[in-house]
């Protein structure tokens, strides 16, 4: 079984709506998730910039792993002159490291 603290940490890193909700009212959300006062304090004192940057990096990773739409046959026929359907616009380069 995953522990509750790890689950909330994973949600903070992967779910933008949950993160917004938590940052607006950490005590309320942590209580809903069943965290202790000590666990709540540990999460509530995290530097927000670090959390947001880490969450951005993980979102890039998840997007890069998403299966791309298969090109229909006519795209292959027309070749590269037709724009591909993937690649959301992003000003930042994708994090890659392991």
């Amino acid at each position: 079984m995953p522990d509750r603290f790890e689950r909330v940490l994973a949600l903070l890193l992967s779910d933008a709506a949950f993160r917004r909700e938590f940052l607006a009212a950490p005590g309320v959300v942590a209580a809903q998730e069943g965290l202790s006062a000590e666990e709540t304090a540990a999460l509530a004192t995290m530097p927000v910039q670090d959390l947001e940057t880490a969450a951005w990096s993980f979102a890039c990773k998840r997007n890069s792993k998403r299966p791309r739409l298969q090109s229909p046959w006519w795209r292959n026929l027309l070749g590269r002159s037709v724009a591909t359907v993937s690649s959301p616009a992003s000003g930042k380069r994708m994090p890659n490291g392991t």
């Binding site: 079984m1 994973a10 992967s14 910039q49 670090d50 994090p95 890659n96």
Partner: protein, 292 residues
């Protein structure tokens, strides 16, 4: 003769260049996750390659330091790959990647506590039973210090090594990036980890990014850039501290430069290793002279 070796990550995009330069590459590291669903022919190809040059398998997606037991299915798939390829060793990360039905997407740092030490050790023992050997475990780069931690990263790593007996894969760019982003001295980190357990090292490059609000800069470990000078300096430092042979792997995951550039980076690693080994020898001679 130190037995030190230098190689790089196997990437299909680099295959032609790698085969042309095998006399300059001591070891190749294959990403397990790219071959878990591979055909028998592809695995046979990796096995044949492993007969020509030392091959290590590097797994990314198990989540060895998470609170959940790593799934038997994932471990059995990895075991089949290791069985088919016959690498000399395999490795994973001190990270969690999922919890319950939540997929984080990449390697996340768990809280550094006695509980996560126990989780990592339990998962390693399970992995060793199913795959057939303990992995080397790698320190990860993180953009956020894990909340709820009770110990420093090197103390946490030392606890895991002591409790499991695993070897370490020390990623020097991860160490460098964490040191820059969180303001600590990487020498202190090296003081605290069991250096005798370090058998494999990763070197790589990164680039600077800003936080989404633009208020803070971070060094991102991206494997898309050339190895930074401080990473070579850390490699020399490890070579000066370690007695055992070291295997250095250059990681490059995209924006591939021409092969001569990568081979120059391998030479840079050899030079850094040699520099550290010379320092070790000189310090040993000095200490010996002092005793006589």
């Amino acid at each position: 003769m130190t037995g030190d070796r230098v190689g790089l990550g196997w990437r299909p995009e680099l295959a032609a260049g790698i085969f042309d330069a095998l006399d300059q590459i001591d070891v190749l590291e294959v990403i397990a996750d790219n071959y878990l669903e591979a055909s028998r022919a592809q695995r046979r190809g990796l096995n044949l390659m492993a007969r020509d040059v030392a091959v290590q398998i590097h797994s990314v997606d198990l989540g060895m330091a998470g609170s959940e037991e790593v799934s038997t299915e994932r471990l059995e798939r990895l075991a089949r790959l290791v069985h088919d390829v016959e690498p000399e060793a395999w490795s994973e990360h001190l990270a969690f990647v999922r919890t319950g039905d939540i997929e984080i997407g990449h390697l996340a740092a768990p809280p550094r506590t006695e509980a996560s030490v126990a989780n990592a050790v339990r998962n390693m023992e399970r992995a060793a039973r199913i795959v057939g050997s303990l992995p080397h475990m790698e320190n990860i780069a993180t953009l956020m210090q894990p909340p709820g931690s009770a110990m420093s990263e090197p103390a946490w790593i030392a606890r895991i090594v002591a409790a499991s007996g695993c070897g370490l894969l020390l990623d020097l760019h991860n160490l460098h990036a964490n040191a820059i982003n969180f303001g600590f001295d990487p020498q202190d980190f090296l003081d605290e980890i069991p250096i005798a357990s370090v058998h494999v090292l990763h070197i790589a490059g990164g680039h600077w990014i800003s936080s989404p609000d633009g208020g803070k800069q971070y060094l991102l470990d991206d494997h898309l850039n050339e190895v930074d000078e401080p990473v070579y300096a850390l490699l020399s430092e490890v070579a000066a501290r370690a007695i055992q042979p070291l295997t250095v792997i250059l990681e490059r995951d995209g924006a591939y430069p021409p092969m001569p550039v990568l081979l120059r980076e391998l030479d840079g690693a050899r030079d850094a290793l040699a520099l550290g080994r010379r320092r070790r020898m000189a310090e040993g001679e000095k200490a010996h002279a002092g005793q006589v």
